[in-house]
């Protein structure tokens, strides 16, 4: 019961946050919200299904680029770009994951990292003449309904927060479903999962697909928040950060991943004066966390079992 109370309190706090913050803080809050969505979606692949995906920025970037290209180049309203920004990353996730999901551990890590580098170079080389090359794309608009433009920082915060809530709801639903459990089983022992009848290949690709969909949503929010997309925002270094956030925070652990995101994206904003040393400190923190808490800051507790079968 107590846990539930804390959860609701935090949700309400996140909704009321703009009331008592200035716009700089709302900007930081929006950054946190957007990167939380990506980290949580990374957690589906890495934390839950246990696949070492170090190319997650690809799907985030595809979502952002889809919105940017459709809105900025072709004038499609932001809200109408959302379905495309979800479906396109999903299609690519399926196509890219299908040939490599059977790879184990580090091999998968290296393959996904490779995809990310190819992706970045494709963006820089202005593939099909639509990605804007090294500049990226500028001048993405804001969402509007019935001609009213929601351009204040607070409204973009809510736009992103809506996606975060959606993500949290899906992750919650996933956890208590056959699909979500299958991902955990595959993570624990892929072969044993196969022999009790789980189509591991299907669920591995599914994990990539659903997390690409959520990353795509985060990409939409990114494009709106920064009105800009550019290749370096989605390079493999970003993927390394998402990867790190999940492991440092705690795999499969929603509070853990959120804490990880907070440490990586909010704490440096507070200590901006020490900006140059921030990654140095973060590196030390990463090593220390892994030594002192190898399962992450807030490790997951398994055992979500319905009450009716507890005795």
């Amino acid at each position: 019961m107590k846990k539930r109370t804390v959860t609701y309190a935090l949700l309400i706090l996140s909704v009321l946050f703009p009331l008592f913050s200035n716009s700089s803080w709302i900007t930081i809050g929006t950054t946190f919200v957007i990167y939380s969505i990506v980290s949580l979606s990374q957690d589906i692949v890495l934390g839950r299904a246990g696949m070492f995906d170090m190319g997650h920025a690809i799907y985030f970037g595809m979502g952002a680029y889809t919105t940017a290209i459709l809105n900025s180049t072709y004038g499609v309203p932001v809200l109408l770009t959302i379905p495309f920004a979800v479906v396109i990353p999903v299609i690519f996730a399926v196509l890219l994951a299908a040939p490599i999901v059977h790879l184990k551990g580090d091999y998968l890590l290296v393959a996904t990292l490779g995809f990310n580098i190819v992706f970045e170079q494709a963006l820089k080389n202005n593939l099909f003449g639509i990605t804007g090359g090294p500049n990226g794309i500028f001048g993405v608009g804001v969402p509007s309904i019935f001609g009213i433009e929601f351009s204040s920082q607070a409204s973009i915060y809510y736009f992103s927060l809506f996606f975060l809530f959606l993500t949290l709801m899906i992750m919650n639903n996933l956890e208590a479903s056959k699909t979500g459990r299958a991902l955990h089983f595959i993570n624990e022992d892929s072969l044993a999962s196969e022999t009790i009848g789980i189509n591991t290949r299907f669920y591995k690709i599914f994990a990539f697909a659903i997390s690409a969909a959520l990353s795509g949503l985060a990409g939409v929010a990114f494009a709106v928040q920064y009105s800009t997309v550019s290749p370096e925002a989605f390079n493999f270094i970003q993927s390394v950060l998402f990867f790190t956030i999940v492991i440092v925070g705690g795999q499969s652990s929603i509070p853990g991943v959120l804490i990880g995101t907070f440490l990586m994206f909010v704490v440096p904003e507070i200590f901006r004066e020490f900006a140059t040393a921030r990654y140095f400190v973060f590196g030390i923190a990463m090593i220390l966390t892994m030594i002192l808490r190898p399962k992450g800051i807030w490790p997951v507790k398994f055992g979500r079992i319905p009450k009716y079968i507890r005795h």
């Binding site: 090359g133 090294p134 990226g136 500028f138 929601f150 607070a154 809506f162 809530f165 009105s227 550019s230």
Partner: protein, 376 residues
């Protein structure tokens, strides 16, 4: 569940519509520049110059009876950080922004300033900066197309090169400049036999140079940064490629000479004048004041160009007696021959500054530079 979502939507819309309003007893001027990262010294130069001018103005009692306050935002030279800065500066209520240093960060922020009616002046050289039709933007330097036209004139008509290779990296500045140069060369009747792109920082350029060697060029033009330019020149000489080497404005840096070593001698560099050779008394005074306050020279001409952008805006406020940016922009669009540190400042309707002064230097055996060709 549905009720919760509904509640969320109602609250979200309500809170975002109760938008914030701010009033300040200061006139706020923003600086958006790379304070950290690869271009840190350039960014810091811009911030220091702006603070110097503003403190001089405040010492004279400010402007329109108000003091001026400078807010600096570090865009790290990246597009994403630039967009964050833009939003942040707008939210803090600045009326004008100086910066950024790179074209990419400038362009990434342009739309945000335009939507918020905030003036922006930048040294970015990408031609696209003035092509969006934003009335808020003023370029205080000269566009790539101006440098490209001069370069083509030099390569084709002065040096009569027949087989020209144009190289760049992938950055928006370098790619843009080199595309413009290639285009201008064709327009001037020259032939670009190869237009190549290298990966900045890759260090090993021998594969692409070997390919170039097999094409027998007269000249290799590189429109990128000195970090790569120095190595390209060194490796060119090592591979015994006999072509001349011509570099764009960002190759012109003391470290280019160090990286290219002995091979630097005989290369040609195209740039606007360095601060120390500016002939104007205003320039001499400014450099003196800058040196007195910061105990160093401004890092480059770009600092002074941005300073002129700021001076023009302050001048417009004084002349019009308002901080209404629409009126200020209207005034600036008609500004003619305002005496600047870097020469007379004249803006076109597009926000473009006219009257460029490019020159070609030749690097000598002893590492010094000699002016060999000048724009008429």
């Amino acid at each position: 569940m549905k009720k919760l979502w509904g509640l969320f939507l109602v609250l979200a819309v309500a809170i975002s519509l109760s938008s914030e309003a701010m009033a300040s007893s200061y006139i706020l001027i923003g600086v958006q520049a790379p304070i950290t990262g690869k271009y840190a010294n350039e960014g810091q130069g811009i911030a220091q110059a702006v603070k110097l001018i503003v403190s001089q103005q405040n010492a004279e009692g400010g402007i329109l009876g108000k003091k001026i306050k400078v807010i600096v935002c570090d865009d790290e030279g990246t597009a994403v950080q630039a967009a964050i800065c833009a939003r942040d500066l707008v939210n803090k209520g600045v009326i004008a922004v100086i910066g950024s240093y790179t074209s990419t960060s400038t362009e990434a922020a342009e739309a945000t300033y335009y939507r918020a009616n905030v003036l922006q002046t930048s040294d970015g050289t990408s031609d696209r900066l003035t092509k969006h039709g934003y009335w808020t933007f003023f370029r205080n330097s000269f566009p790539n197309s101006a440098e490209a036209a001069f370069t083509a004139q030099y390569l084709v008509n002065k040096k009569h090169y027949k087989r020209i290779v144009v190289l760049s990296d992938h950055s928006s500045y370098s790619n843009g400049l080199s595309n413009a140069v290639a285009k201008a060369i064709k327009k001037a009747g020259g032939t670009v036999i190869y237009r190549g792109r290298i990966t900045s920082g890759a260090q090993n350029f021998t594969p692409v140079l070997t390919k170039i060697k097999s094409m027998n060029p007269d000249v290799i033009y590189f429109g990128g940064y000195y970090t790569d330019g120095g190595l390209i020149r060194a490796q060119q000489v090592e591979l015994r490629i006999k072509a001349d080497f011509v570099g764009g404005d960002s190759v012109d840096n003391p470290d280019f000479l160090k990286l290219a070593g002995k091979s630097a001698a005989g290369t040609y560099l195209i740039n606007v004048p360095t601060p120390s050779i500016l002939p104007y008394p205003l320039a001499k005074n400014f450099l003196k004041a800058y040196k007195a306050r910061y105990h160093m020279m401004p890092p480059s001409i770009w600092t002074l160009l941005n300073t002129d952008g700021l001076r023009a805006i302050l001048f417009a406020i004084k002349e019009t007696g308002t901080t209404n940016t629409v009126k200020l922009a209207k005034y600036l669009h008609n500004l003619k021959d305002f005496p600047g540190i870097t020469g007379p400042v004249t803006f076109l309707k597009s926000g473009e500054r006219t009257g460029s002064v490019y020159m070609t230097y030749e690097v000598q055996e002893n590492g010094s530079k000699k002016i060999v060709y000048k724009e008429k």
